[in-house]
């Protein structure tokens, strides 16, 4: 299935190159409202009885003061190159995401000697190389709207740590995957060779199970991200 998608995308990319009338370079930054998926791991299931990672980790009660572990928000930076034909485009590049807020706090667990506070930290970074094909519609040399789909090669590391009076555990999982990808965006043309842009990207996919010592987990690349940036382009049919 994935091989088929890549074959189609590469063929479409080749066609885009033949019919391309514009080449563009995009620099963008933004954020991911929620990244890293559930961040589940084997140790959490076995020792904490947590089966959905960060979605299941928050507990309170027993008179122990805890701080909520919030959904991790990621920062995004990327550089991409786009070939555009009459109404189609092919895009590739590199995008990097890293958690900058959330994913930290404390919960409660009983390891056998009564309830105790557990300090929890989740972190993740990943990068992906998109291969996207789509349509782009221009409105009177003023604006453009684009939508596309494809896949990406994604690589990253997910880490967690749990610390309490009687238990301590940390693990790091590095892996890759080929998530599916979709995007929607728009551009406001500033001049002959530049435009402002912003867009929404959605990735869906995760790595295979990765084992680290006695623990195991997946790196989850699923999630939306919102970015804004600037595009520099060269229209070589107009010259």
């Amino acid at each position: 299935m994935k091989k088929g998608i890549y074959t189609i995308l590469i063929l479409l990319a080749a066609l885009a190159d033949i019919y391309a009338s514009e080449i563009a370079v995009i620099f963008k930054g933004g954020y991911a409202p929620e990244m890293g998926g559930s961040m589940q791991s084997g140790w959490q299931a076995e020792q904490l009885g947590v089966y959905d990672g960060i979605n299941d980790i928050n507990r309170s009660g027993s008179g122990i003061s805890v701080s909520t572990i919030e959904s991790p928000v990621g920062v995004v930076a990327g550089a991409e190159m786009r070939l555009t034909g009459d109404a189609v485009y092919f895009k590739s590049g590199i995008d990097y995401l890293n958690i900058f807020s959330g994913g930290k706090g404390s919960t409660v667990n009983d390891f056998g000697s009564g309830d105790e506070k557990v300090d929890v930290t989740y972190s993740q970074w990943h990068l992906y190389l998109p291969v996207v094909f789509g349509i782009i519609i221009e409105f009177w040399d003023e604006a453009r709207i684009f939508a596309g789909g494809g896949a990406a090669f994604a690589y990253g590391t997910y880490s967690n740590s749990f610390e309490s009076a009687s238990a301590e555990h940390s693990a790091s999982f590095t892996g890759y995957g080929i998530p599916l990808m979709a995007e929607l965006g728009c551009e406001y043309i500033l001049g002959e060779h530049s435009a402002l842009c912003c867009g929404i990207t959605y990735l869906h996919g995760r790595s295979d199970v990765i084992e680290t010592g006695s623990d195991y987990a997946r790196v989850d690349f699923t999630g939306y991200n919102f970015t804004a940036g600037i595009i520099f382009y060269y229209d070589f049919q107009a010259e």
């Binding site: 409202p33 089966y51 979605n55 928050n58 009660g61 604006a143 919102f226 804004a228």
Partner: protein, 208 residues
């Protein structure tokens, strides 16, 4: 961090509005939030999902190629979340209602003779109410901020009046509000998800 973000976008909005002779619009909207509470995403839970309808006020400032969108919306469950097979422990029913105050800023693309396409980032403040029924009915009283994004179209109906259609995605979860396990409070209200809304807005100073 969130406060700084809000101050920055309000300053940008104000500066652009007054310097670029922006357009101020306000109106009403109605919307739909599928699977409010995200019960279908919780592993192992077999639930009839909750569905919310919303009604609210819209405020939109157009400042050249930038826009700022705010307002206030009330979302109410027309279909409550129900878990009857015990797959969510003690939790048997969810009824999440909330007030949402969005704050988004982004690019506003004028598409001649059609209207506008706009796409922006930001987030929403959520004032969560309602209840989760476990062993007892636990009332929700939560204040949260969730990051998200907004995409919409605006199309003129008549002179100063336009139709809007929007898609918003926002991620926010509360701290635990009820006990599913019977041992700890471990069931939270999840406001993450997609919202779709349409509305009518009136342009106060369209021809300025």
């Amino acid at each position: 961090m969130k406060r700084i973000f809000f101050i920055i976008i309000i300053l940008i909005a104000a500066e652009n509005l007054f310097s670029a002779g922006g357009k101020i619009s306000a109106g009403i909207s109605a919307g739909y939030h599928h699977d409010a509470g995200n019960l279908s995403e919780k592993p192992g839970i077999n639930a009839d999902i909750q569905q919310n309808l919303s009604i609210g006020g819209v405020l939109k400032l157009d400042m050249g190629f930038l826009f700022f969108r705010s307002g206030c919306e009330y979302s109410y469950p027309v279909e409550k979340g129900k878990i009857s097979d015990g797959s969510a422990g003690n939790v048997t029913e969810t009824s999440l209602s909330y007030y949402e105050v969005p704050a988004y800023i982004g690019i506003n693309l004028p598409i001649r003779e059609i209207g506008y396409f706009y796409l922006g980032g930001g987030g929403s403040y959520i004032f969560g109410t309602g209840y989760v029924k476990a062993e007892t009915r636990e009332k929700i009283n939560e204040q949260l901020f969730g990051w998200g994004f907004l995409a919409g179209i605006e199309s003129e109906i008549y002179s100063r009046v336009s139709f809007i259609f929007e898609w918003e995605y926002m991620a926010a979860r509360s701290s635990p509000v009820a006990s599913a396990s019977g041992t700890y409070d471990d069931f939270y209200a999840d406001y993450t998800g997609n919202r779709f809304r349409f509305g009518i807005i009136y342009h106060f100073n369209r021809y300025r």
